[in-house]
Structure formats: structure tokens, C-alpha cells
């Protein structure tokens, strides 16, 4: 099992797709009905000004069942997860959660994951953290690593094989 199997194969993840589709269906049937398009989410949205994300429109599209169109759209990847929409929605719709489900669906259906997500996932599988110890430059232009600063050893999973097996299982698990 490799990272490729986890992130870009449509077929083996059909169980997962089913689970996410169920999640999206319940968001569509039970949650999006509450939205009355007041756009309070969009007025506070951190991604709105910069990247034109309009959470209330995402909810409207979900309500109409345009799930595939949303999953294939780049706009779902502009959410900054600032959580203002979830905090402020008078109807508890939480567009940020809808966006997470749509992104999860994009990944499970084999669309390529953007940016550094694949590298971060690979690193988690290998060592439990999104990145290993970095050498950093100080303000006076010297370079230091964790161990140079007298900090204790890096905390990470003690049994990497077992840890990796757990992640693999959760990523592939049947519903």
C-alpha cells in the first residue's frame, strides 16, 4: 500500500465514496433546507474577499443536488477554515463542514489532491507528523535545529508500523 493507493485510486475507495456520499446527502436533505440565503456566512468569509468563495451559494448548489459539479470545482479548495460561517450562521448550517465533505469526496473519487496535502499525508504515514525537524535561520543569520536549542527529543509514534497500519485502515475501512 502506498500513498498513491490512498489518494488517487477511484475504485478501491468506493466504500469511502459511499460513506462521504451519504454524508453529503444528509447535509443536502437535512441541513441545507435550513439555509434561507441570508449570506451572513459570505459577509464574514475570510476567503470571500480574496478568492471569491461564496459559502451561501455553495449551500444553494448543494440544496439543488449539484454535488458532482461542486466536487469538480476548484473553489471548494479556497476555504481558509476560519470557521466564521459555522460560528455565525443563524440556522446552524455550517458551510465549512459542507466544504470539508466536498473536498473529501474529491479526494476519494480520485481527483488529484492540490498542493502539499499529499506530501503532508506521506510524512504522517512515515513519521506521524506533517514534517520532520527543520533547520531554521535565526534573525542573526545562523542556522539551528531542534537539538541545538537544548530541547528534548521529538515526540512521535513509538511503533511506526502499527501507527501506519491504523492510518491505512481508517483511510480504506469499509463502512
Amino acid at each position: 500500500m502506498t500513498i498513491v493507493d490512498l489518494t488517487s485510486m477511484g475504485e478501491p475507495q468506493s466504500d469511502q465514496q459511499k460513506e462521504i456520499r451519504n454524508r453529503l446527502r444528509s447535509l443536502q436533505d437535512q441541513i441545507s433546507e435550513y439555509c434561507y440565503q441570508c449570506a451572513k456566512c459570505t459577509s464574514g468569509c475570510e476567503a470571500h474577499k480574496l478568492l471569491e468563495l461564496e459559502p451561501h451559494k455553495i449551500v444553494a448548489l448543494l440544496k439543488r443536488g449539484l454535488i458532482n459539479e461542486l466536487v469538480n470545482s476548484d473553489v471548494i479548495w479556497t476555504c481558509m477554515t476560519c470557521l466564521k460561517c459555522r460560528e455565525r450562521c443563524p440556522q446552524k448550517v455550517a458551510p465549512v463542514e459542507i466544504l470539508f465533505a466536498l473536498k473529501n469526496m474529491a479526494v476519494a473519487s480520485g481527483k488529484q489532491i492540490p498542493g502539499k496535502y499529499t506530501a503532508m499525508l506521506q510524512s504522517i504515514l512515515t513519521m506521524g507528523l506533517i514534517q520532520d525537524i527543520q533547520q531554521i535561520t535565526t534573525r542573526i543569520n545562523t542556522t539551528v535545529k531542534r537539538e541545538d536549542l537544548g530541547l528534548p527529543a521529538l515526540v512521535k509514534p513509538t511503533d511506526p508500523a502499527k501507527f501506519q497500519a491504523g492510518i491505512m485502515k481508517i483511510a480504506m475501512e469499509k463502512v
Binding site: T78, C82, K103, I130, Q134, P157, T158
Partner: protein
């Protein structure tokens, strides 16, 4: 009374944001906090939420179960980790089937989640658990009326539905702590609740930096002497990437940015060199502090 916690380091603080870790390890024991290093913790899972929410939940549950095994409450200095772990507790407490499913998975590593552990972040540890009076009693070198602004971080203040350590729309605990340290923080500024941009680093790094640049530029124009943060992600943006963030808004930025624990350490009399201040890339040395003895 001694307060004992397992330190949950997360990913970013122990692999690059060393200034936060060094300063909290130095400053908090002065106030009677004992931090225990526990083997086996991993990523909190939050960075993977866009990829697979179930994985996020599993990683959080696993970390909580490790703390439970050691019978320790958790000190979680990263706002993002704190939110992920809080949400995991919220979800598993309201969804017994999911809790059972997670425990089925955790059994492979000999772990069980029952949900007994409490979480604290830097801000509520200082404000609610240690308290302003105790902090005041320990201040040796007051921060001499410094005009500072606080940045809380989105994940620390929202969503209040799952329980957060501070108020979501008008957070004031950092300002109160800074006042106890002798500083003179601005309690309001228009961009106070604006995001640092970090969650976009993974896939839209230019936009992430623009967000950072816009907030820093506004702070600079208001004549604020320095920005104070409490999250390694926010600090990475505001401090480590400040020069680059400035380029995105065509501004030369020079806002000193501190971790709250660095200022706490200075005020408590911890020696400057023990607080990792040379690791801040923003011009923190333009502010002169009364030298700790």
C-alpha cells in the same frame, strides 16, 4: 498548587516553531506548571481534514487516548491542535457509534478513548487556571506600557459550539494577560478577528501570504508596537514569513511579532536568551526590554 499536564506538541511547534516551545518550557514552570513529555503523540489530524475527515477524528482520538493512558490532562499550545482535539471530544461524546468505531481501531495499539481528559491552551491556562493575580505577583520586569495587539487565531476562538477557551466575537483574555504583565494593549482594532492565512499554505501559498500581509500592513499603519500570537501556524505567517507577506501587498513590513509566552518569560524575569527571541525573524529587537537579571 502544582498544575501538571502532558505537553501535546503537535507538528509545527516541535519541528520549526522552536521559539514557542522554548519559551513555554521556561516561563510556565515559574508559575507552578509542570509539563510532562509523553511518548507516542502524533499529528492532531486537523491538517488532513480536507483530505479525510475520518482520519482527522482517528488521529485526535488516538492522541487523547494516549494522554488517558498516562492519566494526564493535556496542555495544547497550538490553536489548531486544540480545536481538533476539542472537536473530537465533542463528536465522540455525541455519537456513541463513532466512539465505538474509533475504539475498535485504537485497540490495535492497546489504546482506549473514554473521554476523561481535559484540554487547556496557553490562554486559558494563564487566564483561568493560573489567574491574573498569580501572574501579577510573579512579574519582575513589567512590559512598560507597550502598545501591543493580540491575534487569537481562528481555531482558538471558533466554533463556540464545541467549547472554546475564549469568546468568539470579542476575545479579551490575551489583552488582560498583557495588562497583568504591565503592557498597554489595544483592546480593539478593525482586523482583530482576521485570519492569518495559514490554512491555505498547503494549496494556495500566495493567497495565504496576501492574507498575512493585509493584516500586518493594517497593524503597522495603526502605530501598534507589536503583535502577540498564541499559535505556531499564525506565528509562522506573521513572523517567519513577514518579509514575503510584505511583498504580496507591496509594503515593507516591520512589525515585531512575539509569542505570548516570550513576553510572559521576559516579564517574569526569565533570561532573554532562554526565550528563543533570536528565532523571531521580525524586528523584535527594536523594542527594548528591561533586561532580566
Amino acid at each position: 498548587m502544582k498544575k501538571k499536564y502532558a505537553l501535546f506538541p503537535g507538528c509545527l511547534m516541535p519541528t520549526e516553531q522552536y521559539g514557542y516551545e522554548i519559551s513555554l518550557r521556561e516561563a510556565l514552570p515559574v508559575l507552578g506548571v509542570e509539563l510532562v513529555d509523553v511518548e507516542g503523540f502524533s499529528c492532531c489530524g486537523e491538517p488532513m481534514k480536507s483530505v479525510n475527515q475520518l482520519m482527522t477524528l482517528y488521529l485526535s482520538a488516538r492522541n487523547l487516548a494516549i494522554a488517558e493512558k498516562h492519566h494526564l490532562d493535556l496542555f495544547v499550545p497550538c490553536a489548531m491542535c486544540h480545536m481538533a482535539l476539542s472537536e473530537c471530544i465533542y463528536v465522540l461524546e455525541s455519537n456513541p457509534a463513532m466512539k465505538e468505531r474509533m475504539n475498535g481501531m485504537l485497540a490495535a495499539e492497546g489504546l482506549t478513548y473514554t473521554g476523561k481528559q481535559h484540554l487547556v491552551h496557553t490562554v486559558d491556562l494563564l487566564y483561568d487556571h493560573i489567574g491574573l493575580e498569580t501572574i501579577k505577583q510573579h512579574v519582575k520586569h513589567p512590559l512598560k506600557g507597550l502598545k501591543l495587539a493580540a491575534h487569537y487565531g481562528c481555531h482558538l476562538i471558533r466554533p463556540s459550539e464545541i467549547g472554546r477557551p475564549v469568546n468568539s466575537e470579542n476575545p479579551q483574555k490575551i489583552e488582560e494577560i498583557l495588562k497583568a504583565l504591565g503592557a498597554d494593549p489595544v483592546t480593539e482594532y478593525p482586523q482583530k478577528l482576521d485570519c492569518c492565512g495559514a490554512p491555505l499554505l498547503a494549496n494556495l501559498p500566495e493567497s495565504a501570504l496576501t492574507k498575512t500581509g493585509q493584516k500586518l500592513q493594517a497593524i503597522q499603519e495603526q502605530g501598534i508596537q507589536g503583535l502577540v500570537d498564541v499559535c505556531p501556524w499564525c506565528h509562522k505567517m506573521f513572523d517567519s514569513r513577514q518579509t514575503k507577506a510584505g511583498e504580496t501587498v507591496a509594503a515593507k513590513l516591520h512589525v515585531p511579532v512575539f509569542y505570548l509566552t516570550q513576553l510572559l518569560g521576559l516579564a517574569l524575569g526569565v533570561k532573554k536568551e532562554k526565550l528563543g527571541l533570536e528565532l523571531n525573524l521580525s524586528p523584535v529587537d527594536t523594542i527594548s526590554f528591561e533586561e532580566a537579571v
